[in-house]
């Protein structure tokens, strides 16, 4: 089974088209994304520990929106799954969920490094 791509290339091409086909804007946006994603990860863990359900939900929602906008399909799917669990007040496996998110974030960082 082939692994899903890190980024939806159609979305990446949309951003390339804004700068005459170059990766310039895509790199800028992904750099911004990974910085804020690191911040979201810290917040998620903190809100989970402190049992701040509402803030946890808001953060994962924003993280999902950001990932969707960048066409980061795996990240956005994971965020959506987590968001739905939180909405439905289902138990989440902190270690599993957050670790999976972190691993996928590393893939995004690697993709970005290859672009530069």
């Amino acid at each position: 089974m082939t692994e899903r791509p890190v980024i939806d290339e159609k979305k990446a091409d949309e951003y390339r088209a804004l700068r005459k086909g170059s990766n310039e804007l895509l790199i800028l946006l992904l750099s911004k994304y990974v910085n804020s994603a690191d911040e979201y990860m810290i917040q998620l863990k903190k809100f989970y520990k402190e049992n701040q359900a509402e803030n946890l939900l808001k953060t994962i929602h924003t993280f999902k929106g950001s990932s969707l906008t960048m066409g980061l399909v795996q990240m956005s799917d994971l965020c959506l799954s987590l968001e739905n669990k939180l909405k439905n007040k289902e138990d989440i496996d902190e270690v599993l969920e957050f670790e999976t998110l972190s691993q996928h974030l590393i893939k995004v960082k690697n993709y970005l490094s290859n672009l530069k």
Partner: protein, 413 residues
């Protein structure tokens, strides 16, 4: 519409950067904020015609922000951009009067089309708002006349006649200039008929009232004179002469020289742009006497409605087959704290008898009926001219300052 200013409220830095990039590339001016509170503050500082708002934001949610924005300016075009895809959220937000809803991730091309439509709608809403405000202003003017009439007739039995006459005369002068002058004269005639006594077929009329009546007859005659002039200009062809732009420049200099008589009243100064060598090779057709009236009207208005110790800047230039003459001044602040001419006044200021200020500028020896700009506009129409008034933000002295620009243009040959 491409230079429309757009407010973006989005908490995610990546999406904020993307929206700013896309909108700026499309020619829009963008102000972006990372939460609802900051966006509301920016909106209070400047009324943006279009706002793109995320629903989930810290400090103040998108929903609260939208409600606050509509409280300040209900004509604002609001577009919601959110990753919320459940129908109930969309319906809740649309119920607030939102213009459009964009679900993230957005398609860039579709997004640009939606923004373009939104900006066009913003332009139309702005026009409608200005027209609505103009209607209210006209109605207020009319109501103010009727109120004045009732008040004047109702107070005829006042015992302290000297005070009564002084205030009556002051209000008559004001009402004349506000377009109610002829009606005022009728009221005065009614008042005379109430105030007289029949004594053996003779009317005994208070001399003060007769003086007041005669004064106002003179004022009315002058107003009628201007009316006749406007009528003549509308109904007859003006005698035009073919002259150079340099001749027009000399005409402006002549008017400036005449205006020197009044410049000391407020210790102002007139600054005129330099003549250019190209002026002698550019020609236009105009009637010197009438054009002089137009230039004088704009210059005198600028002096009357400017702050003391300020400069009146006159600029004459030629571009795209037209000659442009503009007078820029630093306006007074009105009683409501407004500086410059509000948009709702920028069209009706050219209507007969419409005046922004009730104050009479006796020291400038002008009539102050609110007919001067009407006359100027009619003269310019006869020259295939266009005239308009706008507020400008002048950054030349560091801090931005609001200035008013009256400008007209006529074709060159």
């Amino acid at each position: 519409m491409a230079d429309t200013e757009i407010l973006v409220a989005e908490d995610d830095p990546t999406i904020r950067m993307l929206l700013t990039e896309v909108l700026t590339s499309a020619g829009y001016k963008v102000t972006s904020c990372e939460n609802g509170l900051e966006a509301l503050q920016k909106f209070k500082e400047k009324l943006f015609p279009v706002a793109i708002i995320d629903i989930e934001m810290p400090m103040m949610s998108g929903g609260e922000l939208i409600e606050n924005i509509f409280l300040i300016a209900e004509e604002t075009i609001v577009i919601v951009a959110s990753a919320h895809s459940d129908l109930s959220t969309v319906i809740d937000v649309m119920k607030k009067g939102v213009y459009d809803y964009i679900v993230k991730p957005m398609n860039i091309q579709e997004f640009i089309i939606k923004i373009k439509r939104a900006c066009e709608a913003a332009g139309l809403r702005k026009l409608k708002t200005i027209r609505d405000k103009e209607k209210v202003l006209r109605l207020e003017n009319l109501i103010s006349w009727y109120k004045y009439k009732e008040k004047s007739i109702g107070s005829i039995d006042t015992k302290d006649k000297s005070k009564f006459h002084k205030s009556l005369f002051d209000s008559l002068k004001t009402n004349f200039s506000q377009g109610a002058g002829f009606g005022t004269l009728v009221t005065l005639a009614e008042m005379i008929s109430y105030a007289t006594k029949n004594d053996s077929n003779q009317y005994l009329i208070d001399a003060e009232i007769i003086d007041l009546f005669l004064t106002n007859i003179k004022v009315t005659e002058k107003a009628l004179g201007i009316f006749a002039e406007i009528d003549w200009i509308i109904s007859n062809p003006l005698k035009m002469e073919r002259k150079s732009l340099l001749d027009f420049y000399d005409l402006v200099c002549e008017v400036e020289l005449e205006a020197q008589k009044y410049i000391t009243i407020k210790n102002q100064r007139i600054v005129q742009s330099d003549s250019k060598p190209s002026f002698k090779n550019l020609y236009l057709e105009y009637n010197s006497d009438y054009m002089k009236k137009v230039v004088k009207e704009l210059m005198m208005n600028a002096m009357k409605f400017s702050e003391s110790n300020s400069s009146i800047v006159c600029i004459l230039e030629s571009k795209d087959g037209r000659m442009y003459f503009s007078v820029i001044n630093k306006p007074l602040t009105d009683v409501k704290g407004n500086v410059g001419i509000l948009e709702e006044y920028q069209n009706i200021i050219f209507e007969p008898f419409f005046r922004l200020w009730n104050y009479m500028f006796d020291e400038f020896e002008t009539l102050d009926y609110g007919l001067g700009l009407t006359l100027a506009e009619k003269i310019l129409l006869k020259h295939e001219g266009r005239v308009n008034v706008t507020n400008l933000l002048d950054h030349s002295d560091g801090q931005p300052e609001t200035k008013v620009e009256f400008a007209f243009s006529i074709p060159t040959q």
